[in-house]
């Protein structure tokens, strides 16, 4: 696969190949859009980038070996998202997570349950995470990908997937508790 090469126009696949593309890749259009939506933090940008990535997938479909169409497509989508971020919002990529500032949380299940009732609050909490944490959470929790699939989509060693998820979840808990208790923070600032 060489997604960097731009064809001047769409390759026309023969009818059988196109049917195969429709059968294997099209069921994952929602997954493609959803990943882009969360990595880019917005539906409009996601629509453009996912659209472009789907066309790219079609163009390079001959290079697909037929093993896992969803992982293959999501890898293309992810690359497209990062290229887009580099070009349009490089700041998103430079916000490295400083774990010193986020000691291990002591979140109770109850406080999380309350926070979880609020979809907006979860959305905001997810969106405060760096994209590399956000993507593993989205792939795992929203798309149900296995570690192996996440490793292949993100080009991460499979052993790193577990630790990335662990840190992403702790960070998400942190964001949620901060969202749950903004008054406490206000009080601290005033002191």
């Amino acid at each position: 696969m060489s997604p960097g090469v731009e064809g001047s126009e769409l390759d026309v696949l023969d009818i059988q190949e196109r049917a195969r593309f429709e059968q294997l890749v099209l069921p994952h259009v929602d997954a493609a859009f959803n990943l882009a939506r969360w990595v880019l933090r917005g539906r409009n940008d996601a629509e453009d980038v996912a659209q472009e990535a789907l066309l790219r997938a079609y163009r390079f479909f001959r290079g697909f070996n037929g093993a896992d169409a969803r992982a293959w497509l999501l890898q293309i989508v992810r690359n497209a998202c990062y290229s887009w971020l580099e070009k349009n919002r490089p700041m998103d990529l430079s916000t490295e997570f400083d774990e010193q500032h986020y000691p291990q949380s002591s979140v109770t299940p109850e406080s999380l349950a309350i926070a979880g009732d609020d979809k907006d609050r979860l959305t905001r909490a997810l969106e405060t995470l760096p994209p590399r944490f956000r993507e593993v959470l989205v792939l795992r929790e929203l798309e149900g990908c296995s570690y192996k699939e996440i490793a292949s989509i993100t080009s991460m060693p499979i052993g790193s997937v577990m630790s990335a998820l662990s840190r992403a979840r702790q960070r998400l808990q942190q964001s949620l508790t901060q969202a749950v208790a903004p008054k406490n923070l206000e009080a601290q600032r005033e002191l």
């Binding site: 196109r18 429709e22 259009v29 979880g116 929203l142 149900g144 990908c145 979840r169």
Partner: protein, 260 residues
């Protein structure tokens, strides 16, 4: 005070990604580590809240339309784009007409005479079946998709299925055993109508898919896909699949209660 395992192995365990030996080792560790027990509970809750919040967003129709236009769809794909895009149409509302469609689909499936789905644990058809069940489970976790009849009373849920199905799924509440019945629904898996019972387990959801089979009874088979555990068995002309993000031992416990 914190335990090293809360930062690593615990997540592999939560995700069902540890091999049997490491999972057993971690379970032994849980017996002596309250931090990990508390963290596991918190992480399970976090997962449930994420899944129940319905954060997954569907692509706008425009994306599919544009793609079809760009790749110059075949005659069939331009006139019936949905056919190739979404083999199983997720339900979007509970309008009364939905039932008419469903009833028609059920009748159609029976008329076709192919109402038996492939066995979950055998061969390539089994893999595809497992994928379809996992998809149906994930779909059910979207808001408003879980139950058609919400009741903890088996005497409400059971009659609800009568007249909607040509077989009688076994409906029992196991609240005393920690598996409260939450309701039931009809679902479509690979084009066939199946009954689904919804049970709770702590804050988790377990879907039990049930459909008729012509094959002999079988002992429970366990498996997992995409991090979801399932147990599949056949009894009395029915195939049953319990699927959830709860641990495999929890699922086996429910399986034993249902099969009793």
């Amino acid at each position: 005070m914190s335990c090293d395992m809360t930062h690593s192995v615990l997540h592999g365990y939560l995700d069902g990604e540890l091999d049997a030996a490491r999972a057993a080792e971690f379970e032994r560790h849980l017996l002596s580590c309250p931090q990990c027990v508390a963290e596991l509970e918190a992480q399970e809750t976090l997962r449930s809240t994420i899944q129940r919040a319905g954060l997954r967003e569907r692509a706008p129709e425009k994306v599919r339309r544009n793609l079809h236009a760009a790749i110059g769809g075949t005659a069939s794909s331009t006139t019936e784009p949905a056919k190739t895009v979404t083999p199983i149409r997720p339900r979007t509302s509970m309008r009364p007409t939905w039932w008419l469609t469903l009833a028609a689909a059920a009748v159609f499936a029976i008329v076709l005479g192919t109402r038996f789905l492939p066995n979950l644990t055998q061969g390539r058809g089994g893999d595809e079946m497992a994928t379809a069940i996992v998809d149906a489970h994930l779909r059910s976790l979207q808001p408003g998709h879980l139950e058609d009849v919400i009741s903890t009373d088996q005497h409400t849920v059971k009659p609800w299925f009568d007249g909607r199905l040509d077989f009688a799924p076994p409906v029992h509440d196991f609240v005393a055993d920690g598996f409260p019945l939450q309701g039931g629904r009809l679902d479509i898996v690979r084009g066939k109508t199946v009954a689904v019972l919804v049970y709770g387990r702590r804050k988790h959801i377990i879907n039990v898919f049930i459909w008729p089979t012509s094959e002999q009874d079988s002992s429970p088979q366990q498996g997992s896909q995409l991090g979801y555990n399932w147990v599949d068995w056949r009894k009395g002309g029915m195939e049953l699949v319990a699927i959830s993000d709860v641990s495999a031992p929890d699922l086996v416990e429910l399986q034993k209660l249902i099969a009793k």
